[in-house]
Symmetry: C2
């Protein structure tokens, strides 16, 4: 039970969810005494939790290689993911070290047939609603075929979590014309235009928040920087807003009158409200919560985990990739010409 | 005289600057009758302007190759850049087609000795003040040596335009640890640690707006997407803010009271207030204004052009690169080992 705050956040989050989702039970991996201490305040939650004590915890800053060396088999993170593989859990949520979680998830669960590399999908609030952006940090660089795999994975996520029947897909690029960008994105563009997906072409950085596509496909380096730049910009504007509204007595009074509106604005700008980066492309549902998520944020991540488990998103992805295999095979054969 | 609005924006912008900078005279390239029609309203400005009529204008959406084929020698854009080379102008501002301007500037002016590729530098408002981010779209990908060249160019810009004596430099990456990111950024990190520059290491996307470094170095694909993502996020939050503040009568009243504060917020969020992407690394000062810049925005771009011309930033860059040549030579030789 990791993250920056441990059971003091995760247990109250589960307590909050218990009433909404009485059908869900929890396996909790971590230091038993710490978990029990928090659970004492929530006896009804305690009744649906099974604690599996682990002495070893992965620290937030360990490199994945160190985490694997010290945490294989014995750490709470490893054992939580392993419970998925053993069929004892249907999905797994962690607020811990992202790199270590991805490494363990990939080693324990392995990628789905036809998926070369996993991706981390982030839910991105837009002026139209929500989009899913992937990859935001699992895989640096990417072949055109991987972009297609990410598109399939993102579309399955949008259908499952957003309930969209036919999500639109775009590739993140530095312009919308076919000639723009790297060879990788241009070749991926050609492939997706030949696919059955609802592909809308290239979109630019400012098109993500505008909602130009329901699924935004990119590789992990660019996607991670875009995501963190957007989070940083939101935080920066919140700082400006606070400074502006406390600059004079009149504006403070205005703030008091409009504070209901600001609360709703803060909620829409809050990264916690879209918490739950999903690891896609693996044989199992692993959801990564922000390390600094609060109770509401961690609860959102667990809700996402429940939704993807119930929709069996992995089976959908495996099926869709299978349907696209001939397109990918043809494209691969063309590279040999 | 291009951009989305032509002389109807650019001429009033120059008229506004005339009083602040009576020492500057202008060469104007474009359709003489259109320029003269706008200048008629500003006789004092007209007295310090020389119009050079050009029949050919580069359209905003032409590919650079088409723009070159049709506009070489004859277009207003080509001739404006050529005036720099001829020494008839000390800097050049355009609100036109960015790709075409970069292509013409590179062909006419050529890169400075020791600079492989030019960069577009963007001024990025931060909670601490302003930073410069480069490259934001001129050069896709980049060798470690190019990152060093961009760092030198960005530092010269920060000294010249921001007046900083010793600007700090960071490389944009997906984490701050040495092991993170692509081979390119890791090798660039090694090089910059061995340099005399005030290098602070890797910074993440959310570190740009926080002002973690005065100069943020990246390659053009990532930089362009980061810049446009930040612009899109700012616009998105402005939309949310408008919706929140008009959602009820009470919040509308609050808005009325705080409207002075909102005006100052809008100014800080306005891309026009930091308008003027500088092309760095060329034998001459070329500044690109946003195509959609308003009068204040275009005036800001011209002010930047005046500052960099007076500081002779190209000479500074050439000198600094010369001082770093042995470091770059050593690094290059090591790749042959």
């Amino acid at each position: 039970m990791g993250g920056d705050f441990g059971p003091s956040v995760t247990i109250p989050a589960l307590a909050r969810l218990r009433r909404q989702r009485p059908d869900i039970a929890y396996l909790l991996f971590g230091k038993a005494e710490e978990i029990e201490a928090e659970l004492a305040a929530f006896p009804e939650l305690a009744a649906i939790c099974t604690i599996e004590h682990c002495d070893t915890a992965i620290s937030m800053n360990d490199k994945p290689s160190i985490a694997l060396r010290q945490g294989r088999k014995v750490s709470s993170m490893w054992r939580a993911v392993e419970a998925l593989k053993e069929g004892r859990a249907q999905s797994c949520v962690s607020a811990g070290n992202t790199g270590a979680l991805m490494a363990m998830a990939k080693i324990i669960l392995r990628t789905l047939p036809g998926i070369e590399r996993p991706a981390i999908a982030a839910v991105w609030p837009t002026v139209r609603g929500e989009s899913v952006v992937l990859d935001v940090g699992a895989t640096i660089g990417g072949s055109p075929a991987q972009y297609v795999q990410f598109a399939v994975m993102g579309a399955a996520y949008a259908r499952t979590v957003f309930g969209m029947s036919k999500p639109t897909i775009g590739i993140l690029n530095i312009g919308v014309e076919d000639i723009k960008g790297t060879d990788g994105v241009r070749d991926a563009n050609d492939l997706l235009e030949r696919s059955d997906l609802d592909y809308v072409g290239f979109i630019e950085g400012d098109g993500i928040g505008r909602g130009d596509a329901d699924v935004v496909v990119t590789e992990g380096f660019t996607g991670n920087i875009a995501l963190k730049t957007a989070e940083g910009t939101a935080r920066q504007i919140a700082t400006y807003l606070r400074q502006a509204l406390t600059s004079s007595l009149i504006s403070k009074l205005g703030y008091l009158l409009a504070r209901g509106a600001f609360a709703s604005l803060a909620e829409r700008m809050d990264p916690n409200s879209a918490n739950g980066g999903m690891f896609l492309g693996l044989n199992g549902a692993v959801v990564k919560s922000h390390g600094g998520a609060d109770i509401a944020g961690f609860a959102t991540a667990v809700e996402v985990a429940i939704e993807v488990a119930q929709a069996d998103i992995s089976a959908q992805i495996a099926n869709d990739i299978d349907n696209m295999q001939s397109l990918l095979d043809d494209a691969w054969a063309e590279t040999l010409d």
